[in-house]
Structure formats: C-alpha cells, structure tokens
C-alpha cells in the first residue's frame, strides 16, 4: 500500500524547547492514523510542519508523493485540515466560508453538498458568531473537505466539545474511514485513539516512542493486569503474597489489589485459597492493560497530566 505521508527525522525547535526531535512515521493510504501524546509532546508541531503552518528546522516530509518542504502550496491542494479551533470572521456565514475557501483550490466540492453532509444545512446562512462549538467544529470539518482532499489532518478535533458533539464527530471520522479517506488524527484522549484509529504513534517529548495498531501496542506491552478483590471475611496479606506472580499487593482488612503477569494461574490459585479458607467473595475485578498503561510503561508518565 502506498504511503500517503512519510515523515523522516523531523526536527523543530522554539528557542530552548525542542518540540520535535527526530520524528519519523508513515501513514498508509486509507488508514486512520492517530498521533497520541500529552499536551506539549510535539504532536501539534509535527502536524503543523506537515501541513505547512510551520517551517521545520530539519527533516523530510512527503505528502501524497510531494516534497512538502519544497512545494507546500501543491501539498495544500491535496490535503484538508481542521485545527483544534477554527476562527473565522464573526459575520461570515458557513456558505460564504465554503464558497470562499473552495475558490482557493483547483477542484472543490459544492458548498451546499458540504453543508448537507456536515449537518449544517439550517445554519448555512447564519453568521459564524451565532454557531455553537459543535457547529463550528463541523464547519471546520466541512472546510477541510471542501477541496475533496486525499488526506485529512484533524488536530485534536474533539477537544473542548460536549459529549454529544464529540460523539457526532466520532461518527463523522468513522464515516471518513468508510469513504476511504486517509486521516491523521492527533488526540490526547486514549479512548478516542483506541476507538477510531487503525494505527497509533505514541509521541512523547518530541519523539515517537511506539507505533502500531492499538491491539499490537497493548500486546507488545509487558504491563501486568490488575486484580481488585473484596471479601465478606477479613483477608490476610500473607496468604495473597504467597500466590504465584503477584506484585504490588495492597491489602486492607477485607479489600486487596494486586497486579500479575499470569492472570489465569494467579486467579486459579486465589480461588482455591479462598475456597479452602471458607472466605466468600463480595467483588472481584480483573482489568487488562490499557493504552494508558502502555503509555506509562513506555514513557514513565501519565498521559493526562
């Protein structure tokens, strides 16, 4: 499958801050690629360098087979982008904005078609300053699609949106995939990346620390699954610490949590032990490793700091 985006050793510095220090990744045609990282990790800088909003200090960027650093205007013809927030003139209407932006491209979609697709029909002639946050974000998406792009960049598109708008946007992005669009999505919401993306690159301090499908990333992880247990009768920590594979045990009277790499064997031994002691289980939960656990394991930092 042909790569739509190839980023090689991208570097960008703002004064003393190295925002991107050798970022490299590829996005294949038709995939939804997520760039996941905490605030300040360099994901927006990376995207802005690719879409021509910033000039990188070093590195190679190829978009749709075009050298983006040499021919940024040609790249812009082929891509669409929606930034975290899209500002337009207060009194411009969605229809006018779509007509205007459409005129900047060699090929563009009909404004009405975009209004209908992004559920902006009734607001087509309303001034921008009367649109809600969700409507504005949908207009941003409509603008991103006005030039029938081969590739769409969505930079934290759901940040600051209410749950309803976020759900609507998620279904839009899912539809993009169905339509065969290639999408680069940056986000710091793990569930969003997990739910929407075919592949994810985890970025931290300006570097890509892991790339793969969500499943690959989690399976590649050595993170342990965690067990939490509540009982009717009190527990003795000594019993639990003797179980195979148990790590990080905390035990308080009738409650305990621990992690294990051998979940099946540990649980089998635990149930045998409780049965032998005549202890009744009030609650038992097993949680598999999440993307967040993977991230913490890879970077030593919490994602949502």
């Amino acid at each position: 499958m042909a790569a739509k985006v190839v980023v090689q050793d991208l570097r960008k510095r703002y004064g003393d801050i190295q925002a991107a220090q050798g970022v490299s990744f590829k996005i294949d045609d038709g995939e939804i690629f997520g760039l996941l990282g905490p605030n300040g990790s360099g994901k927006t800088t990376t995207v802005e360098c690719i879409i021509g909003l910033r000039e990188p200090d070093a590195g190679e960027i190829e978009v749709c087979g075009i050298d983006a650093r040499q021919r940024p205007q040609d790249v812009k013809q082929k891509i669409g982008a929606a930034l975290q927030t899209t500002a337009l003139q207060d009194k411009i209407t969605p229809r006018e904005a779509l007509t205007l932006f459409g005129s900047f491209y060699r090929d563009s979609a009909e404004p009405q078609q975009m209004l209908d697709r992004f559920a902006l029909g009734p607001k087509g002639d309303a001034p921008f300053d009367t649109l809600s946050g969700g409507q504005r974000q949908r207009l941003a998406l409509a603008l991103a699609f006005i030039n029938k792009p081969e590739l769409v960049f969505l930079d934290e598109p759901t940040t600051g949106l209410d749950p309803q708008s976020r759900r609507e946007l998620h279904s839009e992005i899912a539809r993009m995939k169905q339509d065969g669009h290639t999408v680069l999505l940056t986000t710091h919401y793990i569930e969003e990346a997990e739910q929407l993306c075919d592949r994810i690159a985890i970025i931290d301090r300006g570097r890509i620390v892991a790339t793969g499908t969500p499943r690959e990333l989690m399976s590649r992880s050595t993170a342990m699954q965690s067990v939490s247990l509540a009982t009717v009768q009190p527990l003795d920590p000594l019993w639990l610490s003797a179980l195979p594979g148990v790590d990080g045990l905390t035990c308080d009277h009738d409650r305990a949590t621990f992690r294990t790499v051998e979940i099946t064997r540990t649980l089998a031994e635990l149930l045998k032990l409780l049965d032998a002691r005549g202890i009744e289980i009030a609650e038992l939960q097993v949680r598999k490793a999440t993307l967040e656990d993977v991230f913490i394991e890879l970077t030593g930092e919490s994602l949502r700091d």
Binding site: Q73, A81, L83, K91, L100
Partner: protein, 571 residues
C-alpha cells in the same frame, strides 16, 4: 484569481455587515465635514477650499485605523491561520484587502462630496484628476496602514500606533491645520509626512489647476505607497504567534521610513517646503504692484473715487462680512496649490490683461451655491458686486507676470490699480480671530466700553497721530487696532471702528484711499515706533511680534479700503 475576487467581495460584504466599521468609515468623515461646516460657517470659509483636507482626513482614518484594525483583529483571532491551511498566497490576501479598502474609501469620499455639494459647494474643477489624485492618496495611506498592520501585534497597538501617526499628521503634517498657519519648522517637518502631499494633490483638483501642478505630490504618494506595500508584504505574518519583535525581516520597516525620508529630502531639495504667506498678502493680487515700478500713474480723480464709492459706503458704518467679492482668484490659504515658490512670496497672480473671454466668464452670474469660490477658474466665479472688478484669475503657476504698472509713490495710486491688485473676498472675516470687527449694534462690556471711550477721546491728541506724512500717520492709527488684535485683547473687536472714524476725520477720503492702498501693498515699510506710544491710549501691553502686527495693519487697511470704496457692503 478567483480566490482573490472572492476574498475581495467577502471583505466588502463583511465590512458592510459590521456596524462599527460602517460608522467609522462612512459616518465619521461626514461628521467631520459637517462639524467643519458648522464651526466655520459663520466665518464664511468655503468648503471648496478645504475638501483636500476633508478627503485626506477620511482616507487617513480609514487607512491608519480601519485597515490595520480589521487586519490585526482577524490575524489575532486566528482567521488568517485558517486561510493559511489553504493554498492562498500573501499577494491574494494583500491585494484583495487593499482593493476592498480602496472601494470603501472611494465610496466614503463620494458621500463626503455629495454632502459638500448639498451644502452648496460647487463641483470640483477637475473631477477626473480628482479621481486620479484620490487613488494615489489612497495608495499612499493604504501602504502606510499595511505596515502598521504588520508592526502591531494586537488591536490596542494599532490604536497607539495609529494615534502616533494620525495626530502629528493632522496637526503639523498639513492635514487639519493649514500649512501656511504653521511655523516654518513645522512646515519642514510636514514635508516628511504624506498628509501634506495628499491635501495638496486633492485640493489642486478641487479648486486649483488639477494634476498639472500636483506631479510632485503624486510622485511622493506613489513612493510612500509603494514602499509601504512592499514592506507590508515582506513583513506579512499569518499568525498572531509570530510576534513582530521576534521576527526577522524587521528591517523592511526602514524601507517604509526611508520612503518618507526620501520624499521629505526630495521636497527640501526642490525648495518647495515653506508656503507661509502673510495673510495681508493673500489679498494682494499682483506682486509687481508692490515693487513700485515706475509706470503709468494717473492720478486718482474725484470722479473715480465717486464711482468707486457708488455703493454708498459709509466708512464709519459698521462692517459686514467681506462678501463684496471681486474676481475669483487662486486660493492662498489654507491649501495653496503646489508649485508655489518657497519663501514668503505673495500669490504670484496677475490679471491676464485683455482676456475678454475670461472677463466675460468672470462676470457671468454662474455661481450656484452660497459660498464664494475664490480659487476657481472664472467659470465658477460669483457675480461681482462692483463692475470694475473683472480681472480673471489665471493659474498661479502659469500666469504671465503682472503688468509692471505699480505706482511709484502713494500719490500716484489710481482706482484702477486698486481694483486690479486687491482681492477683498480673501480678507479674514470680521467675525474671526484675525482683524475682527464687531457689528455696529454690538454693545461691548462696560469695562471695554470705558477703555474704548478713553481711546476715542485721546486718539486726536495722540502724538503719532500728528506726524506730517499721511501714510505714516495712517500706519500709526492702524497700529492702534492691530496691536490689540495681535494680543487678542477684549477691546480688539471694537477698536477698529474707533480708529476708522478717526482716520476719516483726519485724512481726506481720496487721499485716505491712496494711503490705505499703499499700506496694503507695502506692509513692511514705515516706522513702527508708534507701537511704543500705545500706552498713552491704555492699549497693548508691550511690543508684539512686529511681523504679525504689520500684517494686521495691512489687513485693517484693506478692510477700511473696502468700506470706503464700496467693496465691502455696510449693514
């Protein structure tokens, strides 16, 4: 190209949806015009003389505040950042913004013009030239606005930067304050501001000789505008995060500044900076007349005086506003046509003798509005009140030199020379601050009345009023009115009538006419020691600026002359 067109149309459409922007770009220039008209109406200052300034203020406001405010606020909010995601060039945005702003400025100026016409202003003398000049003016100022938009990081910075340019340009840049009212140093400073070139170019199209005399102004505006647009494009930033102070390429600002400096230096090298002319010289038409060239010097006959006095002027009667207009003549103030030689040269206009066509036009009752149109070509002139005053007024730059018929002595002055050389409608109004004269029925305050009575009683005994030479004696009398005028004393509005009464008692009328003409044309001559004797009349408090005092003496001389010869009607 389609993108540029769409952006241009959208810029205009959004402008017309923004109430504040509309108020600023359309209402503000109209209010300025009306305010001007209302404020100065009573002084009979014709709008036609000030349209250059009024247009310039409108363009200046639109370009120095309107344009950069819109641009900076859009950039600040991130609108341009969104544009940058699309394949839009800097040129697309800059050109469409400039052209849209030009359309706004043009429509605003047309509204101003329509209002001025409705208020009685005649049609501009050179409408096509005016359109060209206006385009250059807009280009010059829009270039300036563009540089400001790129320098200012936010809207408050635009306001600060705008005021820094707007106010000096208004006050010492020749836009709101006429150049010839400014001190010499300020006139030199004004050469470095585009405002004066804008006013000169526009004014020359409204009531001057059109663009033929405004070539340097157009060049100056073109240089300033081109440098501004170039620097503005080079400094262009799409993103508010790109702060001006942290950007490379700041040196482009020096290109814009260099253009201003270059224009100023060029103007200096051409020696066309100082336009100040004493007000008294504005009423004098021929410089040759003042040079006392020996020539034909027929005596002023009693019959001539009688004819000149046919309007029945009673010299001591209360004065009326100076409306006894003779022939239209080029404006001396406030906006002199460009090309005037430097120095304090008087209006270099001479009647084109024998130009019967011009004469016919000048006398034809073609004026429509209530305003005198002093600087228009003959077609726009008013009906003269006195048949003798029919000399047409050709271009100040292209007119042939005045006929060398100036009298050699005051006794050689003829009524013909008087008619030829003096322009009574250019006198400062009696209700103004220069050479004021109160209407006869206006009662002074009791304190002023006491002082006035003292002058009236003591003037016949005043020593300088007893000198033998009638010219010097008249000068001495006129100082009694001129000095309080310079000092703006409370008595200033009433004392001229007392002085006029005394002069008419003391000097025979025909002689007085000759003497006053002589003083008007030779303000720098004569002894000024009478000023030091004013204490005897309890008038004045020290020596004023004698240049100014002599100027006022000449003006009061012409005002009395106008009354004596019927050029200024009595109430």
């Amino acid at each position: 190209m389609n993108g540029m067109l769409q952006q241009f149309r959208l810029s205009l459409r959004l402008h017309y949806r923004n109430k504040m922007a509309l108020l600023y770009s359309y209402l503000f220039p109209l209010i300025f015009l009306i305010a001007f008209w209302v404020l100065y109406r009573h002084e009979n200052v014709p709008l036609v003389r000030h349209m250059g300034e009024l247009f310039t203020v409108g363009v200046l406001g639109g370009a120095c505040f309107g344009l950069p405010t819109t641009m900076v606020s859009e950039r600040e909010r991130g609108v341009w950042r969104r544009y940058r995601l699309a394949p839009v060039s800097t040129a697309t945005l800059v050109v469409s913004t400039i052209v849209a702003r030009y359309c706004i400025l043009v429509t605003s100026a047309l509204l101003q013009l329509a209002l001025a016409l409705a208020l009685g202003m005649p049609m501009p003398a050179h409408p096509l030239d005016l359109a060209v000049a206006f385009t250059f003016v807009s280009f010059g100022f829009v270039g300036l606005g563009l540089v400001m938009a790129m320098m200012a990081d936010n809207v408050p910075a635009v306001q600060a930067l705008g005021q820094c340019i707007f106010l000096p340009m208004l006050i010492i840049g020749g836009v709101a304050v006429p150049l010839n009212s400014l001190p010499i140093w300020a006139q030199h400073v004004s050469a470095f501001f585009p405002g004066r070139y804008a006013v000169e170019a526009l004014q020359s199209c409204v009531n001057g000789n059109g663009l033929s005399t405004a070539r340097f102004d157009l060049l100056a505006l073109l240089m300033i505008g081109a440098a501004g647009c170039l620097a503005g494009s080079k400094l262009f930033r799409w993103d508010a995060q790109q702060r001006f102070s942290t950007r490379s390429g700041k040196a482009w600002v020096t290109v814009a500044i260099a253009a201003w400096a270059g224009v100023g230096l060029l103007a200096e090298s051409r020696g066309r900076i100082v336009t100040r002319v004493p007000e008294s010289q504005a009423v004098v038409r021929s410089p040759a007349a003042r040079s006392a060239v020996p020539g034909i010097t027929p005596k002023l006959s009693a019959a001539e005086i009688a004819a000149g006095n046919a309007a029945g002027a009673k010299a001591a009667a209360p004065p009326a506003p100076a409306t006894a207009v003779s022939t239209p003549a080029p404006t001396a103030a406030p906006s002199r046509p460009p090309g005037t030689p430097s120095g304090a040269a008087p209006t270099p206009v001479a009647p084109a003798t024998g130009n019967s066509a011009g004469r016919d036009k000048a006398t034809a009752p073609t004026a429509k509005g209530p305003e005198p149109v002093p600087a228009l070509p003959p077609t726009a002139g008013r009906t003269p009140d006195v048949p003798a005053t029919t000399a047409p007024a050709p271009s100040p730059d292209t007119a042939p030199p005045a006929s060398a018929t100036g009298p050699s002595t005051w006794t050689a002055v003829t009524l013909e020379q008087l008619e030829r050389d003096l322009v009574f409608d250019r006198l400062p109004p009696d209700s103004g601050i220069v050479t004021p004269i109160a209407p006869a029925d206006e009662e002074p305050d009791p304190e002023v009345a006491t002082d006035l009575e003292f002058v009236r009683e003591n003037l016949p005994k005043w020593q300088p009023g007893k000198v033998a030479d009638p010219v010097q004696r008249a000068r001495n009398y006129l100082y009694v009115a001129a000095v309080p005028d310079v000092f703006q004393l409370p008595i200033e509005r009433y004392i001229a009538s007392v002085v006029y009464d005394r002069m008419q008692e003391d000097i025979p009328k025909d002689q007085l006419i000759q003497v006053l003409y002589w003083i008007a044309l030779h303000p720098a001559e004569g002894d000024e020691s009478a000023v030091d004797q004013l204490w005897a009349l309890h008038v004045g408090n020290g020596r004023p600026d004698m240049g100014e005092a002599r100027d006022r003496v000449a003006l009061y001389a012409v005002k009395l002359l106008g009354r004596l010869t019927g050029h200024i009607k009595m109430q």
